[in-house]
Amino acid sequence: MTVLDANGLDFRALGERVRAAEGDVEITNCCGQRFIGAGMSAKSIEIGGIPGNALGAYLDGAEITVRGNAQDAVGDTMNGGRIVIHGSVGDAVGYAMRGGSIFVRGNAGYRAGIHMKEYKDKVPLMVIGGCTGSFLGEYQAGGVIVVLGLGANGRRIVGNFSCTGMHGGKLFLRGDGRDVLFPAQVTARPAEEDDLAELRKYVGEYCELFGADAEEILASPFTVVTPDSKNPYKRMYVSN
């Protein structure tokens, strides 16, 4: 394992060192350097401190662990691998991700999981332990988003306008979801046995990473949101 002290390095200098390092990397004293791990495959990167925006953009199989918080655009257009955040993340986490998984112990900001998509066996997964801001899963075209709302203390666990334009994939919300206003083109229903079996895998992995009690989490009801149509705008146009 190569240990890189990020102190005093700008993103480009740090990026060059991460790319040049053979094998796994530990970054210490990280303080806002962007683009760490961009496009990387087959490497494990452990980060102490707070990485900057676009952590793990286009990630292609590498594993990134952040011991604290991360900022905006974590896992942008990620293709494979895993990002584990032991704190909270900023806006637009997992934008357009199409593979791999992102686990966030705490909360996520606005626009989490926008335009996630899937293709055949490439189904991305994002699990948020806490709450999310508005526009969660907007334009979602595939993949799975799970919001556990741990520590919400009775507050609504997602912001406004969740699932606007959703036309694929699946969203799990812990709770009965009655306090969430969903758009007309999706269906929100209580999780059934099949759903819970699927969910158990995701929650299990979350608990393994962060040490929570899976049974306690799963004891709560869950809401599943899926789109009614994969062609939401079919009837919107007239050929001229």
Partner: protein, 502 residues
Amino acid sequence: MSAVDFIFPEFEVVRNSDRCIACRVCERQCSNKVHSYNEERGAMLSDETKCVNCQRCVSLCPTRALKIVKSDCAFRENANWQPDTIKQVYRQASSGGVLLSAMGNPKPQPVYWDRILINASQVTNPSIDPLREPMETRVFLGKKPSRAERGPDGKLKTELSPQIDLSMPVMFSAMSYGSISYNAHASLARAAEALGICYNTGEGGLHEDFYRYGKNTIVQVASGRFGVHKDYLEAGAAIEIKMGQGAKPGIGGHLPGTKIVGDVSRTRMIPEGSDAISPAPHHDIYSIEDLRQLVYSLKEATAYKKPVIVKVAAVHNIAAIASGIARSGADIIAIDGYRGGTGAAPTLIRENVGIPIELALAAVDQRLRDEGIRGNVSLVVGGSIRSAADVVKAIALGADACYVATAALLALGCHLCRTCNTGNCNWGIATQRPELVKRLNPDIGSERLINLMTAWRHEIMELMGGMGINSIEALKGNRMMLRGVGLNEKELGILGISHAGE
């Protein structure tokens, strides 16, 4: 359908019965099912309501028995309520739908290229004959150093940021696999390689068969991020971030699920039959700083080996926008004017949003020069570049290169019927139906593109030679070589050119 919804067919199929031999070629060739054979009468019939005037049957009729003419059945004349407008109201009243069109804006708005004339040498400075003298049409796109720098040993630093190397200042602009066919992409890729220029994947990903044309490929990253992954980013000569498109500024793209079949689905990496929706904005870009973040995330992911292009539509504040982009770390700005083509766009946006590329280009080039940052970026312009003369005028107005798409499609057989959105293209271009796609032979298609660009290159050299200029570099931004005709003071001022006679 109520009587008020009836719209008289726009075209008439005129069949010369003296010539028609009822060979039924027209019937087999028409995907819109206009032609049919009547056994009883032993004659061909036409259903004109389905005709889009793509000229496929006309072109293939062996006896020249067919022609398509505009119907003279007309509403009562009205200068204010034109027939198209009336029909649009009927269509919307019956469907409640947003009007959808394809290809570039057909409205008679000003084409400034046609109001700009090119200079030539007479007597006092010699013109150059490109057949006899060396003439440079090669261009490099990317950041240019603002001054020469020397290392500690006194030697010139010659390391440049990554550049796109083109044999002539023209590239094929973005058209996605999905909006156009496999054979259309194959034709463009092969021609780009043979010509030493680039074609552009558009936002539909890159089919695995075309990775081998990588050094002649520009890969696009748009708001939907379709088909974007590490190998894709590394495959091309450059990466283009699509912020906007001239035909539909301010809105996203939407390839209907019916076109997401087979290879298109695999290349876009989304399931068959699912709509491919590119949102109007990039949801992570709200500012120039955010754009800078996307630019640098792409550079980090590709180890700074690829120039990054930012493509925007020409809109009102384009000069200020371009100034921002030039400071974002982008290497090249592509600007798409409002006459640019599209596979599908809401009619009203195509016809009412954006500004002409000529004015946008002149304004941007001037602004970047005024701010001393012109060398930060190369400028590529598109949005209806129709000929080598348009290319020469664009270069003289300040462009480094031009993007060409409609002209390339015409070379492949497009007859501008403007119904790409239906997916029934009889010429095998804007369709995914296998029986139609195979009508476009990539061997012939690429050859025709090579012919077209070879001819343009020669014309560019002749026009430059006439001015006594022997390289694109010496023509670039050389507005003294242009004069306007019939333009007002304001237009001349924005274009930065004098009036003819001045």
